[in-house]
């Protein structure tokens, strides 16, 4: 399925850029920027493959998942003066990545016969764990635990996908519907500044 692979690479690049940018903001050296870009891009999928026992993980089996984030991070490092100009557009690519990662993660979990709750969690983890590692390495409370409909969009998408799978909807249609709903939900959340309730 070539569209999914293409979207996956777009998402990988967008996630790498957000990680590398966090490194620049935290005044890290070149190595730190490359590491943050790389782990943000591949952390979620790698953790998923670790838990599924599908080793070595995807990024060690197809090295484009290493080259691409490293190249993007180097670019962000070199041209970081221009980054603020692309920060907003980047959010759209980031949303595309989020939707694609959830579809790939949930789909892979289902194909490994993981139960419904586990499949939703592995899908959400594929979309969000890279960002969590980025924030932990930057010594911050992970962003997704404090703000916005981000992980929630993943949970929603994963749940939809598990339901459609249980209803025997064909995989390709399921992938498409799920990815579109995650991306739409995420973009609406950005546009209208939605957030989850806090305990008060």
């Amino acid at each position: 399925m070539n569209l999914l692979y293409f979207l996956d690479l777009i998402g990988t690049a967008a996630f790498a850029a957000s990680g590398a940018w966090a490194g620049v903001r935290h005044n890290m050296d070149l190595f730190g920027v490359l590491v943050l870009g790389l782990v943000t891009a591949i952390g979620g999928g790698t953790l998923r493959d670790l838990l599924l026992g599908d080793l070595p993980p995807f990024c060690l089996q197809n090295e484009i998942y290493l080259w691409l984030p490293l190249a993007i991070s180097l670019l962000v490092f070199l041209a970081h003066r221009f980054f603020p100009k692309i920060e907003n557009p980047l959010l759209y690519f980031d949303a595309i990545g989020l939707g694609t990662f959830v579809v790939i993660g949930t789909g892979k979990a289902l194909s490994f016969s993981i139960g419904p709750v586990g499949a939703v969690l592995l899908g959400a983890m594929t979309g969000t764990a890279g960002g969590v590692i980025r924030d932990v390495l930057s010594n911050e409370i992970p962003l997704i635990m404090r703000r916005e409909i981000y992980a929630s969009a993943c949970i929603f998408g994963g749940t939809l996908m598990v339901l459609l799978h249980a209803l025997a909807v064909p995989n390709q249609l399921n992938f498409l519907l799920t990815a579109i709903s995650v991306i739409t939900l995420r973009l609406l959340a950005i546009r209208y500044n939605w957030s989850l309730p806090k305990a008060e």
Copy 2:
């Protein structure tokens, strides 16, 4: 062994409550609270299964280990006003969980033919790693590294279990003695405020 399973679920629920409560205190949104509750409950056992190569880990094979912590965390989120009232009683359930987790972790390591030091460490990790991940995600130095006889009770219990195993004590008796000693040690430490020496 149904008693062990029952105690395991009690411990899982108590650990989830402590994680969710950390999320509420750190002003996280609903998602953050659910994640902290979940990782605190299953983090130790999952890390153990990763290291043993027993994949997918226990929580992806029996989804009650996902449902239960999520439900408890939701409850803590919704009813957090009442949490301070149950905080002290919770320490007792937490101690039960600690003892049970150490027994399960050390026992599993021994059944995988891990050596004595490794078995003790995997048992202690089963009991404590969830709390460590909770603290790292809350951007704090992990509690167990700074205070109290907590991990030490795990180390003591694991060592006892490995010794009894080497002496060919029957498993069920071994499980019972170990769990009771960890729980007792932990409760005494809470009661009398014991702590480990620091370097001065």
Copy 3:
């Protein structure tokens, strides 16, 4: 190859000492000091084995990798008053450890048929991830992301090793050349205070 094993143990001990010392400085109790010493010494290799799917990891297969760091950490805890006197000499042993860990990590990745970028990354991870975990558990931004030619020496060494491997240089010669170049680079960086560029 007995020399490599000997150097590996020297490096393991030096890494454990640096981790335990971080625990003492952060005012941790005995348990915290032991954990920090242990994870600093074995964290990198364990993460590598997790990603390669070679489980249980090396340290659970040969328990000297558990005993040695624990013993060294206990020593640092007990005799921490003398630590500042050995801190500078320790940097030399640390450099030996770094070179050895990179050689072992990159070599193992190559023997698992991992691609060139992945092999370099796994080698660098073997040398540096323990220190990253130490810093995360101490609630600091990992040192290697902010300062000095440390990880860079690993990347350089790993790249050299992958190239020599592609050129069919015999393993033992390759190991020797790579280890010496990492160690030399690291010692020169310490001596002349080299650092990587930051984004400005």
